[in-house]
């Protein structure tokens, strides 16, 4: 049985009188995990604790290793892509990635080989010998990803990886991130403020607020946590308003969102059968029916708001 990626038990971190993390308990697992929270939620502090960089109270384990005592070993097995620029002046991408690999314990020849592979993977194969100082923002983001990958990590911490990217570069970066778990067999912890990014690539989410974990689970659980199967979205061939009126008399509350779609909140104990029966009686053809789920953004605001 393999250990969960991250386990937190009563994790507490105080800076003087300020409590950055307060009795955090969570088990975090998944392929791509979105780490969400407003500024000051404790994400950075959690990250520092997990990398074994700062002392803390309680328990924090990464890949089954105690962060307090095995920080070095954890950092050899984890890759970190920082939000801010963290390059060495005058270096080319291939030199930086080779150096990163060596600092993570790889022999020089192995580090060099993997640096080329990581840069090729990140889409920088033609530019890898140019000084990083001359790179565009998008290319620098790719170098940051490559240097985090070069030592073959089992978990990647990505801090705002799509910050400052144009839409096309953002799409490409998200494509790379989504591809990583399958291709490189590594899990990803994606810290971001861009909730559409999380919606697009993450399968799990951790939401932090005021130094506590407010939610830890799958994205489906997060988005479906509100109303279960009683909140539906219905697509009809035509006459959405007519169906809404019929369903309203049956006790459902409806909102027509277009000429052919409506959102339906069923009354308690009712099932989707109510929709089909009323549509049949009204002579309206139902073309699609699904459980209505919140967007990640709405779910995030709800979780934060609940607190």
């Amino acid at each position: 049985m393999t250990a969960p990626l991250i386990e937190l038990g009563k994790l507490t971190k105080r800076y003087g009188s300020i409590t950055a993390l307060a009795d955090v308990d969570a088990t975090i697992d998944g392929n791509i995990i979105g780490l969400l929270g407003p500024n000051g939620a404790g994400k950075s502090t959690l990250l520092k604790c997990l990398l074994g960089l700062i002392p803390y109270e309680g328990d924090a384990r990464v890949l089954g290793l105690h962060a307090a005592t095995s920080g070095s070993e954890i950092r050899d097995r984890v890759g970190y892509m920082p939000e801010q620029e963290s390059f060495l002046t005058g270096m080319s991408a291939v030199e930086l990635c080779t150096y990163a690999g060596e600092l993570s314990g790889l022999p020089r020849s192995e580090a060099m080989q993997r640096a080329h592979a990581a840069l090729y993977y990140a889409g920088l194969e033609e530019k890898r010998y140019q000084p990083i100082d001359s790179y565009s923002t998008g290319m620098k983001q790719r170098v940051k990803l490559a240097q985090a990958l070069v030592h073959d990590p089992e978990i990647l911490f990505l801090d705002e990886p799509t910050n400052g990217l144009d839409p096309r570069s953002r799409d490409e970066m998200l494509e790379l991130i989504a591809d990583l778990p399958a291709r490189r067999n590594c899990a990803i912890v994606l810290s971001t403020h861009l909730l559409p990014d999380v919606e697009r690539v993450c399968d799990h989410a951790v939401i932090m607020h005021h130094g506590r974990v407010r939610f830890a689970g799958s994205i489906d659980e997060l988005r479906g946590a509100r109303g279960g199967d009683r909140e539906l979205v219905v697509e009809v061939k035509a006459h959405a308003q007519q169906l809404a009126d019929v369903l309203a008399t049956a006790g459902a509350s409806c909102e027509v969102t277009s000429a052919v779609t409506l959102e339906v909140d069923l009354p308690e104990s009712a099932t989707s059968e109510l929709v089909f029966r009323n549509a049949r009686e009204a002579g309206i053809q139902v073309r699609g029916l699904g459980v209505r789920r919140e967007t990640v953004e709405a779910a995030f605001l709800r979780v934060i708001g609940d607190s």
Binding site: S72, P82, Q84, F87, E102, Y120, G123, E126, Q147, S191
Partner: protein, 313 residues
């Protein structure tokens, strides 16, 4: 298919064209080999320090060339003016000739070449890494603050040793080579260890002290200016003050402190116009400079480790 002929390789053009947005890989395999012992990671940092210095001519090669010129001039003086009396010999009651004073006299010139290296590399090391965000790069890995400090210090020492140890050793070798006979050669052999000692001391001082100054400022230009002002202006001031007051004060001038130890090792007296610096003061000054500088770098690097990673998210 070779490694270079990865996805996107065009046989017509012979080039690899990366399709925009496509994900491509050279073939990934999980690394199962052993990893370098974390305690030896400082060597990687030291090697990188040397490699990056060697990459640009103005960083190290210019100073190295200057050291080579100093060595050549000193060697030439030894070979062609061996009978001339040294001006320094006057302070010893005309007991010494130029051939015997060239080596100790050349040390201060090698210090000047060392100072050039401190300007182009040493005085900006930590400030440069602060400015570029490199500490996040280092400490997100299994690099500890002391690995960084030892690595940078060792790298600087390796570079400076090429100037402050190798140069004087060549001159010492020449001096042995122009000995009149075997007896004189044997008598002169101790100059080798004396040269090694003084070269080692100067190397450590010229590596550590600028590094300390580079940790004082978060901006490399400011760090550089501060170090240059300390070395040139403050050094000159304390030396002049040392002439008219206590000689110990003049020991705060780094090159003069090195020169004092050199003279002591080679049994030379200062000229009457020079500040008379006690050897103990020179040793204390150099040791103090080095200890304070290393402590300062260690403190700043430790601080950077705790605040650097994840700081902006």
């Amino acid at each position: 298919m070779t490694e270079l002929e990865g996805p996107g390789f065009s046989p017509e053009t012979g080039t690899t064209e990366a399709p925009v947005g496509a994900i491509h890989d050279l073939g990934y395999k999980r690394y199962l080999g052993t990893r370098r012992d974390p305690r030896t990671r400082w060597r990687v940092i030291a090697r990188e320090q040397v490699a990056s210095a060697w990459k640009f001519w103005w960083r190290f090669k210019a100073a190295f060339g200057l050291a080579a010129i100093i060595t050549a001039i000193a060697g030439g003086m030894m070979l062609f003016t061996s009978d001339r009396k040294s001006s320094l010999g006057r302070a010893q009651g005309f007991a010494m000739q130029l051939i015997d004073t060239t080596l100790p006299e050349s040390i201060i010139w090698f210090c000047r070449a060392g100072f050039v290296v401190s300007l182009t590399i040493g005085a900006t090391v930590v400030a440069s890494d602060v400015q570029s965000g490199a500490f996040t790069f280092y400490f997100a890995r299994s690099v500890k603050p002391h690995h960084y400090v030892i690595g940078k210090l060792a790298g600087m020492c390796a570079l400076l040793a090429l100037i402050l140890v190798a140069g004087p050793l060549v001159i010492a070798g020449l001096r042995l080579g122009v000995s009149d006979d075997v007896d004189q050669l044997v008598d002169l052999l101790p100059i080798l260890w004396k040269t090694l000692v003084i070269g080692g001391v100067a190397t450590l001082a010229y590596a550590a002290v600028p590094l300390g100054f580079s940790a004082l400022m978060p901006n490399r230009r400011n760090a550089l200016a501060l170090w240059a002002a300390y070395y040139l202006v403050f050094g000159a001031m304390v030396y002049e003050l040392g002439k008219v007051s206590s000689g110990s004060l003049a020991a705060l001038d780094l090159p003069r402190a090195v020169q004092t130890i050199t003279y002591a090792l080679f049994d030379l007296n200062f000229r009457s116009r020079d500040a008379q610096i006690p050897v103990a003061a020179a040793v204390a000054s150099l040791a103090g400079h080095v200890v304070v500088a290393v402590a300062l770098v260690s403190y700043q690097v430790r601080r950077a480790q705790r605040t650097g990673v994840g700081g902006a998210s």
